[in-house]
Subunit: 332 residues, 2 copies
């Protein structure tokens, strides 16, 4: 039986789409054929996959004939509009948008955390938000030692979370400021060069923005634990690509730093970077392009008897998006 | 009686020293004479105070004759070496370094928080660490509503905390990276352009760096409450001047968001920036050059019954250093 798959990438020209092609190739995903889909604006654009040139086609409801796996990363509204066409055509959709994540019939998967949930799919599998994925890869091995009751997390999110345009704006605006010109926001709502701002998603009635609430609700769904309480603060910092997170967790029993380190050392998808003597801890510059989530600053939470504190860093485009989606496709 | 003071600024040519001169002038501090002191390297350098040119003199043990108030901002080892000479000459020292902060005989003052402690001085008054000052100005009004038992704080610290050289390195390295050259760390231990790193102070046995432990111990001393437990994560982000902090507090009783906002609205040194509709919250670009600490994202801590969360931003060179020192001098 031929195990090779006909794969479609929706949003192929975006920052995540480009990384999806890279990741499929690097991980030797068994691709029989590859169809690259995007808006009409990008139709005809040539892209390269394993040395072969493939032209981008316009995404339509008829794009999915013969497709086995469709990787969607073109925003929630595109996913809502087109995912069902892919499912109807017999494909399994791995969706990187927020469209279906909280749908009870859609599994939300971090392969290192809840791979078994994939069996419950009805054609659509959701890829969690980047900040959630990176956090859960780091804390799941600790949850397995003792359940986590409470999480306080502050994020240091990169421009790439807003796609290629976000990264361009950061670079261009910073160059302007260094040349003595003003920082003029165009894509983001606030100045970004040498500045930071609260995550630019809408604020809900409880004062949390949508990015933060994703961390609250996706964590519970993926961990199958509605008792976990999460207090997130999501902040955009002038970093190009990797997200960092300062995490404190409170557990049912006290887990020692040594025990936590031992569990993290053998956890899949985790690389410990925790050299106190050299002051070397997770940094975006060392996380960019890496598959693993870097975990360091592993220490007791001085403010809580059963608490631990961590600092983690993950490539937002890879583990936060493209890699996790391809890993889900591999599970299929 | 003549209330005017003979003032010396030690470390006058540094980033904080320059802001001290600015702040003395802007706040019409009653200066009778001003002596600018620095290392022999800077001796003879002309600086401007209220349009008048003053030459920097070399700091020696004989520098303080006739001085009433000596503002020190030249690092802890200079303070340890020279502060006593100033006291012996009859001056009151306001020291911006960490040298005397935890000395039980030295008051550690944030004028908005514990001005009354100044009476206990024996010649030296310490200015707290920038991150501590900015945090306490924001949370003291909330402590007054109900004692704070626990603080979890993640910082987003600017280059200015490391002085003028830190700011220069960030600008020059960023320009190099934008020109396609590598980020070569010289002053800081890690790449800084479009990157972030754990605060570059030594890590202690418990895994916390010195900057973090300042927040732990200075908070207790200033608040006169040894029961406050603080879990800080101090991170250097590629921002030039203002420090930001994501703070969650747990209090003895539940304080509502409305009650907290009302207390902050009338608190000295605080400016509320909390426009949920416009997604406008404290940002370094709006805090730079400001005396007030900007406070926003005021919301319930979703992870704790009696908890509140905040995001604050303060000019590290002003409220975090020079302004606080001049305010202490004003209390004298």
């Amino acid at each position: 039986m031929n195990q090779n798959k006909n794969v479609a990438v929706v949003g192929a020209t975006g920052a995540v789409g480009v990384e999806m092609l890279e990741t499929l190739a690097k991980r030797n995903f068994p691709v029989k054929s590859l169809r690259l889909l995007a808006s009409s604006r990008s139709a005809g654009k040539p892209m390269t996959y394993r040395g072969e040139t493939i032209k981008v086609e316009e995404l339509t409801k008829d794009s999915f004939k013969g497709i086995d796996i469709a990787l969607f990363s073109a925003g929630a509204s595109r996913s809502r509009e087109f995912a069902q066409f892919a499912v109807d055509a017999g494909a399994v959709v791995v969706d990187n948008s927020s469209a279906f994540r909280m749908d009870p019939s859609v599994p939300l998967i971090v392969p290192e955390v809840n791979p078994e949930d994939i069996k419950k799919h009805h054609g659509v599998i959701a890829n969690p938000n980047c900040t959630t994925i990176i956090m859960l890869v780091a804390i799941k091995p600790l949850y397995d030692l003792s359940p986590i009751k409470r999480i306080v997390v502050s994020t240091y999110q990169s421009a790439s979370g807003a796609g290629a345009k976000g990264m361009e704006e950061l670079e261009q605006q910073t160059a302007a400021v260094l040349a003595g010109q003003p920082a003029v926001p165009q894509f983001f709502p606030h100045p970004y060069a040498f500045n930071l701002f609260s995550h630019n998603t809408a604020i809900q009635a409880n004062g949390y923005n949508e990015e933060e609430l994703k961390m609250v609700y996706e964590t519970r769904k993926i961990m199958h634990d509605d008792a976990i309480r999460v207090c997130p603060t999501c902040v955009r910092v002038p970093v190009l690509r990797s997200h960092s997170e300062a995490i404190t967790i409170e557990q049912v029993r006290k887990v020692s730093v040594e025990e936590a380190r031992a569990a993290l050392a053998k956890a899949p998808g985790v690389k410990i970077v925790d050299d106190r003597e050299k002051n070397l801890f997770p940094m975006p510059c060392n996380s960019n392009g890496q598959y693993d989530v870097l975990v360091g600053r592993i220490r007791e939470d001085l403010s809580c008897d059963n608490g631990l504190a961590l600092f983690v860093c993950g490539d937002q485009l890879l583990k936060g998006a493209a890699l996790n989606a391809v890993q889900i496709a591999e599970l299929l």
